[in-house]
């Protein structure tokens, strides 16, 4: 260890270790793309018109072409006879004198008719919405739900875990008791109860997942605080007269922060998957919005008709994200705790 070497702390060293790993760099690149696209969708720059009917119902993906059998597709067009209204018919038509007026009035509302496309890049859904736009918008919703609810859960878990672990005693017992009660209720039941109370909406999903998912973080952080509070450096802080709050959050918290970070990224993945289940059960995101869970939910009747592209799209997009994030979490943990990762 040379003295000339630039002094760097724990986080920079961990960052260096993470960056040295090729797989970690690849995962980070994938995640950055996802977050950028989600951010752009959130700002309304892309996928703004995801809810518009831009194609025919179940429009074929472009690569299949418009010849692929589709009841609403181009290959289903049947030529129709054009009815020509001649003088003879006008004579018996009571509306005939008004035709001109009607056409004039209609001209005031003239709108170029947008022909729904026969094909869309990744196909269309039942209402002719573009699956690509949809999956981008859904990604934005799902990722923000995952992030927000993970932040909430980690916040609750960390604060309660810190209090319970640091003080112990009566307060610790009380929190343990609360935790035990909480975990004894089946997860889905708890989610149903929360969802029933809060009503339906994106913010409800965030609250439900956050309030239900803090227990793992609580247990981990509490155990870590119990371990750390007896350490010499905390004793030293006590000896110089640091207050409880200072010891808890200035001294100990930075020493457990790497665990919190790993928990956070793990929960993001867990909650994105949980949102899928909730939406699949009809308890998640309302139907006027869209998420990866909603898309998967819509797939069931489509598959019967042989319309597989929405499922394929959402499955590929979502599992790429989940796998990248999961790998990233593992590598992050290894980078933050180099001793544990030696295989």
């Amino acid at each position: 260890m040379t003295q000339q070497q630039a002094s760097y702390g724990f986080w920079r060293a961990a960052g260096k270790r993470l960056w040295a790993d090729k797989l970690a760099r690849f995962c980070m690149a994938v995640l950055v793309v996802y977050f950028l696209v989600a951010g752009a969708a959130g700002m309304g720059w892309v996928a703004k018109d995801w809810n518009e009917e831009v194609g025919v119902s179940y429009a074929n993906p472009s690569f299949l072409g418009d010849d692929y059998p589709n009841p609403q597709g181009k290959n289903s067009i049947i030529s129709q006879d054009v009815l020509v209204i001649d003088e003879k018919q006008k004579a018996v038509d009571p509306l005939a004198p008004y035709y001109e007026e009607i056409e004039k009035n209609a001209a005031a509302y003239e709108k170029a008719e947008v022909k729904p496309s026969w094909t869309l890049l990744l196909g269309g859904d039942k209402w002719g919405r573009d699956v690509l736009d949809k999956v981008i918008k859904a990604g934005q919703v799902s990722i923000s739900i995952g992030l927000a609810s993970a932040l909430l859960a980690v916040f609750i878990g960390t604060v309660l875990g810190a209090l319970g672990g640091y003080f112990g005693g009566k307060l610790g017992d009380l929190l343990e008791w609360f935790y035990n009660i909480f975990t004894s209720v089946p997860y889905i039941l708890l989610v149903l109860a929360f969802a029933a109370v809060f009503g339906k909406g994106v913010s409800t999903v965030i609250l439900v997942l956050g309030f239900v998912g803090w227990t793992g973080t609580y247990r981990l952080i509490r155990a870590e605080y119990i371990k750390q509070r007896g350490r010499d450096y905390v004793m030293a802080a006590n000896a110089i007269g640091a207050s409880h709050g200072r010891k808890m959050f200035v001294h100990i918290l930075p020493n457990v922060s790497h665990l919190i970070l790993v928990q956070l990224s793990q929960l993001v993945v867990d909650f994105i998957k949980a949102e899928v289940i909730l939406s699949f059960l009809g308890l998640g995101v309302p139907t006027d919005s869209v998420s990866w869970g909603i898309m998967i939910n819509e797939v069931m009747p489509e598959l019967v008709l042989g319309k597989w592209w929405q499922l394929a799209t959402v499955a590929v997009v979502m599992s790429t994200f989940v796998v990248s994030f999961g790998l990233f979490t593992d590598l992050l943990r290894d980078a933050l705790d180099p001793k544990a990762s030696r295989r």
Binding site: Q3, S7, D232, I240
Partner: protein, 559 residues
């Protein structure tokens, strides 16, 4: 002693690959021999490579990142170990070469009975039936001095004391009648009285089994009486080797002389302890002569008075009841201003608890601590807060007592912020840099993190943190025990200089009687929570009155 050699280490080089381009040469061409039926002591400080060479013999180095070049040799009874296959090495280790480690608590598997662990070793290397092996295990336990071995064979490791656990480790090591026993710091984790017993046991076994012992230690004095041959190592090279008498009486290498000189001894008390640099840079003859006189006279002003201090721990017993265990019973003493009170005792004697209780880092169950005419034990937390800066503590383990996520600057500024010393952070930073210089660190240290410093440097940072509050009383809780001999001398010198400069009073808690003798004016001996003797240090070491003190003093190595 026969002239035949059991093991010859020839030009042994060991290199560790640390990273892609980083290498560390732990052993740089080491040569020594272990003759049959002899004791070879391998002495050096941490990082000297003494353990690495033992691990190389036992083939315990991680194969993945260890490189031993082909010209190195380890010849055991005529065969070169380095040319053998992994399986041959494994058969040899345990059977002909065995090893005991520093910490018996972590070397024994806690979930198996000790008997089963010995039986396992026996049956791995010898064709014995279960019952025969068990009988042999009982014999072995008897041989290593475990009382009542027939029942103790069914004990779990945690049911035994540290000394007994080490005896079990020794029993396992000698189970297959090895020709070479490697003892890697076998007594470092043990109390002095136990240390003496273990060393006596090892010597007895060496005689009765006719084996050779490679004794690895950082403490030269420890091997003065037992070693036939001494090898002194420093940073991967051998500085000096030779027969024990010549190394101890006429050391040739300055490093050996430094190691012998910088450890405080019980019979001398130099004004300043010599440090390794004095010897390596040839300033050996410029060392200040004369001795420091110590002692407290009744006329000295008293700064801290402790009366009948009690501390008990509540231990759960069964489902509902509690048992009170007294850690400190009725301890009283007076600490004079600018003087040092040494508190000695073995592990479990309550000396550390005493120090922490005085600083109110523990609760207290009776007695009083008078400082400035106030009983500190009777104050509320809020009332005690201003006193905290007057009473400070330096902990044993410099690796644990500094917050790893704080820079040294943060560590030094925090106490000043908490106690409102100076008005601005700039003044505080200036003060902190002064303190860093005072304790002998570069001001660049300010922006570094603790992990960038060595143990001795970290202990200096701890001292600077305490100094930032200008305390009147400093509790040194085994503050130099975890440090290497040469670093220990430097830190002790620093503590002494600071006491002379600031007039601080020290409570110096240690298990090391030589260090306590060197630094203390008065000494208090603790045993099982009670104070058994309390006197001026010269008097106590000259004529110890209590039987326990006598036993402790008799156990000091090299006496």
């Amino acid at each position: 002693m026969t002239t035949e050699n059991l093991l010859e280490i020839k030009n042994l080089r060991v290199t560790f690959r640390l990273g892609k381009n980083e290498r560390f040469e732990a052993l740089q061409g080491v040569n020594y021999v272990i003759p049959k039926n002899s004791v070879v002591a391998l002495v050096g400080e941490s990082g000297s490579g003494k353990s690495v060479s033992a691990m190389a013999i036992m083939d315990l180095l991680p194969r993945a990142n260890t490189e031993i070049p082909a010209d190195s040799g380890m010849v055991f009874e005529g065969t070169d170990l380095l040319k053998q296959t992994e399986k041959q090495r494994r058969d040899l280790c345990g059977k002909h070469i065995s090893m005991i480690f520093q910490d018996p608590m972590t070397s024994l598997n806690p979930v198996y009975r000790v008997g089963d662990q010995i039986v396992e070793v026996l049956r791995l290397h010898k064709p014995l039936s279960k019952n025969e092996a068990k009988k042999r295990a009982v014999e072995l336990l008897r041989e290593v001095g475990i009382p009542d071995p027939e029942t103790r064979i069914n004990s779990y490791p945690h049911e035994m004391s540290g000394g007994q656990q080490q005896r079990v480790m020794i029993a396992m090591a000698i189970a297959c009648e090895p020709k070479l026993l490697i003892a890697d710091e076998p007594t470092t984790a043990l109390d002095v009285t136990i240390q003496k017993q273990i060393i006596e046991l090892l010597m007895k076994l060496k005689q009765s089994h006719g084996m050779s012992v490679l004794f690895i230690t950082h403490d030269l004095e420890l091997v003065r009486e037992i070693a036939d041959h001494v090898v002194v190592m420093h940073r991967g090279v051998i500085k000096e080797q030779g027969p024990a008498e010549s190394v101890f009486t006429a050391p040739k290498d300055p490093y050996t002389r430094a190691l012998l000189a910088c450890r405080p001894t019980i019979d001398k008390r130099p004004i300043r302890l010599p440090i390794v640099e004095d010897f390596l840079q040839g300033r050996e003859h410029e060392l200040p002569q004369g001795e420091r006189s110590r002692g407290v006279s009744p006329a000295d002003p008293i700064i801290l008075q402790v009366n009948n201090l009690k501390k008990t721990f509540r231990v759960k017993q069964g489902l509902f009841s509690h048992k009170e265990v007294a850690a400190v019973k009725d301890v009283s003493f007076k600490l004079a201003r600018g003087k040092t009170l040494g508190i000695v005792g073995e592990s479990g004697s309550g000396k550390t608890t005493l120090g922490k209780t005085i600083l109110r880092l523990n609760s207290c169950e009776g007695g009083e601590v008078i400082y400035n005419n106030k009983n500190l034990m009777g104050l509320s937390d809020r009332e005690f807060q201003p006193y905290k800066r007057q009473l400070q503590i330096i902990f044993q383990n410099p690796y644990a007592s500094l917050n790893p996520r704080f820079t040294v600057g943060d560590i030094l500024l925090e106490p000043m912020r908490v106690h409102g010393i100076h008005d601005t952070d700039k003044d505080r930073a200036d003060h902190a840099i002064q303190l860093l210089r005072r304790v002998g660190l570069d001001e660049k240290a300010f922006h570094k993190y603790p992990h960038e410093f060595s143990g001795g440097q970290r202990q200096r940072i701890s001292i600077a943190r305490c100094l930032s509050m200008k305390p009147e009383i400093l509790v040194c809780d085994e503050s130099v025990s975890a440090l290497d001999v040469s670093v220990q001398a430097q830190v002790l010198n620093l503590l002494q200089e600071l006491q002379d400069e600031y007039g601080m009073s020290y409570l110096f808690i240690s298990h090391d009687l030589s260090v306590v003798k060197y630094i203390s004016d008065e000494v208090l001996v603790m045993h099982h929570g009670e104070m058994v003797e309390y006197a001026n240090s010269d008097e106590l070491y000259r004529e110890p009155k209590h039987a326990y003190t006598q036993k402790l003093l008799a156990a000091i190595p090299g006496r």
